[in-house]
Symmetry: C2
Subunit: 475 residues, 2 copies
Amino acid sequence: MPDAHTNSTSSNQFGAGVDLHLELAGSRRRAGLTDALRDAVRQGRLTPGTRLPASRALAADLGVSRSTVTECYSQLIAEGWLTAQQGSGTRVSQRANPRSTTVETQASRVLRRPTHGLLPGAADFAEFPRTQWLAAARRALITAPHSAFGYGDPLGRIELRAALADYLSRVRGVYAEPERIVICSGFHHGLTLVAQALKEQGAQAIAVEAYGLSLYRALLNDVGLRIPPLVVDENGARTCDLGAMRDVSAVLLTPAHQFPTGVALSPQRRASVLDWARTTDGLILEDDYDGEFRYDRKPIGALQGLDPDRVLYFGTASKSLAPALRVAWIVVPKNLLSLIAEAKGRVETVSALEQLTLAEFITSGAFDRHVRSRRQSYRRRRDDLVTALKQTAPTVRVTGMAAGLQAVLELPQGTESWVLQAAANKGLMVSGMGEFRHPMLDRHFTAQDALVVNYSAVSDSAWEGALHALCSVMP
Amino acid sequence: MPDAHTNSTSSNQFGAGVDLHLELAGSRRRAGLTDALRDAVRQGRLTPGTRLPASRALAADLGVSRSTVTECYSQLIAEGWLTAQQGSGTRVSQRANPRSTTVETQASRVLRRPTHGLLPGAADFAEFPRTQWLAAARRALITAPHSAFGYGDPLGRIELRAALADYLSRVRGVYAEPERIVICSGFHHGLTLVAQALKEQGAQAIAVEAYGLSLYRALLNDVGLRIPPLVVDENGARTCDLGAMRDVSAVLLTPAHQFPTGVALSPQRRASVLDWARTTDGLILEDDYDGEFRYDRKPIGALQGLDPDRVLYFGTASKSLAPALRVAWIVVPKNLLSLIAEAKGRVETVSALEQLTLAEFITSGAFDRHVRSRRQSYRRRRDDLVTALKQTAPTVRVTGMAAGLQAVLELPQGTESWVLQAAANKGLMVSGMGEFRHPMLDRHFTAQDALVVNYSAVSDSAWEGALHALCSVMP
C-alpha cells in the first residue's frame, strides 16, 4: 500500500518502510505488519529494548485499524519478540537475537566435477525411465487404498514385497515369500539393520571379502563387530578358510560377481560356505548388488535359493534403476524377521508411495524391459572397452568381465599409483584396486595392481571421451 | 511346447512335466528347462543324490538341442543345485534344500480395525491431494537434472531445503537458511539423528515434557540418554524448573501446541527456556508437529526464530500431508550440521524424487492451499465436538482447542479408565491422558483425568458416527 511507502514517519521509526510496503497488501495487512516487525527485529533494524510507537499512533501512520496493530503486538508478545510492561509500553524483547548475516553461497557448496568419472556407484542416469516411472506412479497413486497414506508396516508395503518375491524367484532363483522380505532404503541401511540384529543376538565378528567397499567395513565396525578378511582369488572368496576363523557368526559375500574383482564364487566355494553355515550355525549375507547384469550367459542364481534359512539375500534398485530411489530389499530367514523389524523400528521406513510405484513398475513388466535395455547398452560398453584396449594397450589384461558394471584392468606391478596419477591429470577418475583392500590383509599377500573401471558410469555421449582418456594413460 | 507336455518319459523322470510344459516356450527353452529343474529340486520332486539323465537322452526326450541341456546342466552346477563327478554323471546336489511349504497367509497378517478410531497419529487420509501430488511429481520428474538420480547430498536435496526455508520463515517465523536444513524421514528419524549427535558430544540427559508420546522417550533412552520430566501446566512445560536439573544439555518441547495437553508455551516460559539455554549453553529441541493448524488466530511463531543458534526446529509432512511420505526436516545451528550429517550417514536419505516432488508441491502453492482446506475442515470438526458435548455432556470441560488435531476432554477424577473401557466396548478407540504420562513423574503429582481425542483421525463420512459414540460414553 503506497501510503505506508510514502509515509516517512513509519519508515524512519523502523527503517522497515520497504518491508511494510511489500507486505501490507490487501487482506494480509495484519500478517504483513507482524512479519515486517519480526523481520525488522531479526535483521537488527529494531534493536532489543527499542520502544515501539503506541498502537493508535502506528495505526494512524499506516492507515490500518488500531485493532490490527494491537493484535499484531500481542501476537509478537506471545511469540517473545516484544514485551509489554505497565507504563513502559511495548518494547523489543531483550532476548530477540538479531540474525547473523553470513549466508553460505550456493556456489561454495558446488564441487568441481572431473571431466571423466568412471568410479563405482555412478551410473548413466540419463537413462532413468522417467516416463515409465511416472506412468507407474500415476497408476499406483490412483489405485492406492486410503490406508496407504498412514503409518505403514515397518517391514514395507505388502504390494512391493509380493512383486519382489515373484521377480526374485523368477530372475535370481531366490526363495522369497513376501513375508520374508524387508524393504529398506538402500543396501547401507539394510546391512545396518542386519548388523544391529546380529549384534543384538551376541555376534562378535562378520567375515568380509578381502576386497570391497571400505564404507561397509566401517559400518560393521561402527556396530561393534570385528571384520576378519577372506582372501579373494580367481574362484572368489576363500570360504574354505572360514572354518579356521574364531567367533565368526556370519560372512558377507558378493557371490554372483565379486566386488571389485568381478569373479564369480565357484561351485566348490559355494558348497563350502553352505557347509560352514550348517555346521557352525552361521549366516551368509549375500550382497547381490548387480546380479541382473551378466553378459556371457544367464545370471548365476542366488546362493540364497540353496538354503533360505542360512542366507540373507540383499538386493537393491540402486544399480538396476537409480540410487536416488533409496529402495532396497532383504530376504531373511523367518527366525530373524522380528529382530530385524525391531532394528528397523529405530529408523523410519521408505515412502509408501514410492514402494507402490516400484511394485507397479515391476508387475507391469517395465522393470524387466528397463534392465534388458541397460544390459544391452552396458554389454556394448564392455565390448568397446575390450576392443579399444586391444588396440592401444594389448599388454593390459582385462578381467571380471562376465557380469556387472565394472571391469578390472590388470597393470604391471608397481604401476597402479602412477597410472592413477596420470589419469587424474587428464581429469579421469577411476579407482585403483588398492583402495578396496582390507586393512587387516596379510602384508605378505601381494595383490595384483589394477584399475577398477565402472564403464556404466557415464552417458553415451561422454563414454567415447572417457574411453579415449582411459586408453591414453595405459602403460 | 506340447511335445514336452505329452512326453511321458520326461514327465515321469522328473515329475515336472507341467513345469516343463509351462516353461519350455519359444526362445526361452534353455531358461525354461533350467527353471524347471531348479523348481523340481526346490519343491523336493527331485531329491538330493538323484541321478539326472544323460544330456543326449534328455535332449531327445524334450526335443531340444543337446547343447541346450549341457548349458542348462553347467548353469545349475555353477549355482550348486547339481554336481558332476567323473563316472557318476550329473546328480542333484546333497546341499540343495527342498523349500518348506509353510507360507503365512495374508489373512493372518491383517489386524481387526475398531469401528471408530480417534487415536493420535491417524488422520483423514481420504483427503490426501492425489491429483495435485501427481502433478507435482510430473513437473519434478520432467525438470530434474540427470544428476538427481545418483547418490545425493546426505543433508537432502537443495531444492527442497530452499523451498522449506521460504515456507518456514513465511509461515512459522523460523530463521531457516537452506544450508541449515536437514531432510530426514520422519520426526522419529530426525530425533534419532539429533540424539546420536548430542550423545556424541557427551550429552547425558535431555529434559522432556511430563506428558508426551512414550515412543520418543524410549528412543532417547535407547540412545543412552536420561530423560528427566518437566511438569506441564496451563502455561505449558515448566521450563523455569530447568535450572534446578543436573547435567541436562537439551530440552525437548512442543511450544506451539503441547502434545497432548494442547496448551501453548507462555511468553514467560519461552523467555525462561531461552535464558536457560544461553546461561547453561543448552539446546532447545522444538517439535513443531502441527504448527500449521491453529484456529483462534495466526499460528504462534516458532521459538527457533528467537535464537537460531540455540534451538533445533523439527517439522514434518506427516500431519500436514501424510505419514506415508516419510519426509520431515530439522533446522539446526551451523555448528551441529557436521555432527548430524555424520549421524545421518549411518542411515540412508529420503528418495530424491519424493524430495523434488515435495519441493514442487510447496513452491507451486499447492501445499498452502492443502493446509488451508485441512485447517477449515478440522476447525469444523472441533466446532462439532464442542457443540455436541455442550448438548450431551455439559459438565465435560474441553481444553487444548486453540490449535492442532486433538482436543482434551477433562473427566471427573477417577473416571478415566472407566470411560476408556466404555468407549472400547462401543468400538471407539481414544487415548486417556494417563498413557502419555512420564513414568518418572512424581507420584504425588495428581494429573487431571481426561480423554485425548484426535478429531482429525477419521473421514468426513465416519466423523458423525465417531462423535456420536464419543458423546454416548461421556459421564
